[in-house]
Amino acid sequence: MIIELLATPLGHTVAALVAILAFLGLNGLVMVYMERKVCGFIQLRPGPFEVGPRGLLQPVADALKLVGKQLVTPLGADALLFWLAPFISFAPVAICFLPIPFGPIATGMEMNLGLLLILAFSGLNALSLVLAGWGSNNKYGLLGAARAVAQSVAYEVPLLLSVLAIAFQAGSLNLSTIVEGQKGILSWNLFVQPLAFVIYFISATAETNRAPFDLPEAESELTAGFHTEYSGMGFGIFFLAEYSYMIVVCAVATALFLGGYDGPFAPGIWWFLAKVFFLVLILMFFRWTFPRVRFDQLLNICWKWLIPLGLANLVATALVMKLVK
């Protein structure tokens, strides 16, 4: 009965969504632990160590603390928008995971426009940051929101350009098809389109508001930016969403550039996860290595470098594809 239900497209999608949400919850814990350990090791510290064996239960303790905290709506805040924002931030993430091919058959939902779906729904994140900043009636929140919009709008362009180059080359927006086109390490798009990968990765760092592009939540300038006024799980959901988006961008990067689940010996899904978490590790290294850019530098990098380079890359790809065909 259940197996029959799972075989229907709707049943399959629901099961995939449940699995994705479970994965995201667990992933939040793993990434918090990973981030703090990476930070500690880079600074020659042990990182969390006291809660549980080697500090393994530290993220659980953090999560319990966040759950137990009182939820405060600031005076003069727009309560509806204020509490809507975290959910708008987190809800689309699950949908972004649906078209990602974790393994040869481990795809939540096969669709022709998978890449487009991910790009469209991850764009909603900017909206949630604006609502959070606007709704909380706080100048730091509003400044953070303004920065988030400018940053997201700017960096979505090079992100799309680099993704489009790969889509041109593969002739498809279906992530599974793109992965199928990369068999063997030398045919990975990382080596075929290195410039697109660099542009994609920089833009993805900016899209996920990670350091050195974490201007919307710059601690030293804006207290906590758009989530200044959020307490307890309000903040917790933003946090979870940020880490989930990191996984989304790294998973898309893996599928587009690193051959997806392509790899010897082990089953594909392990290769896929290994590549994703390797990219996440690089993002974490970025955070603890580079100082935050200034706002004008942020926009200069985008408009003066990434977009022209992305356009040139796209035109070159189109030309080559035309000539080869």
Binding site: F41, I42, L44, R45, P46, F285, T289, F290
Partner: protein, 184 residues
Amino acid sequence: MKTIGQTIKSLWSLIVGLKITTVEFCKPQITVHFPRKEVTNLGSYRGHIDLVPLANDPQTPRCIMCGYCADTCPSGCISLKFHMVGEEVNPEQRRRLLLGLDVAVPRSGGKTPPPDKIERVLDGFHLNYNYCSLCGLCVQGCPVGSLAFSRDSYLVGRARQDFEFDLLARLKSRAGTNSGKAAA
């Protein structure tokens, strides 16, 4: 052209930065999990001062009660208490003794003072660590090398009184525990 060269240089600097953090990432930690482990490389650590005992008698400090440390301390942390035992203590001798003219030979490198008929007995060596700036003048200037920095890096206290020490009592208790350990 110049801009492009500069950009490539800046991009290279990012890679250099990443290399540095990667190297640091792989290095062993240098912090110590305190309650379970303690630091050992305290050779140059300056804790509060402590009395150094005689080589043959761990109960007795090398101190000759010259008072140099108390005089030289810029913060006035140190105060000595002693009394004299002996028959021929006349006022003139007493004064000389207090000044330490005969006894304390400057820069004698810790040699025992010349024998004297009048013996001085140390009753207390008080240190008010609250005001100590760890300048080390007392340790540097002690003519018999009776002062040294302690290696107690985990010293904590909740009140001002916790940092007022009787170093003589500390020395005696330390000698007691040491001999106890040796006996055990």
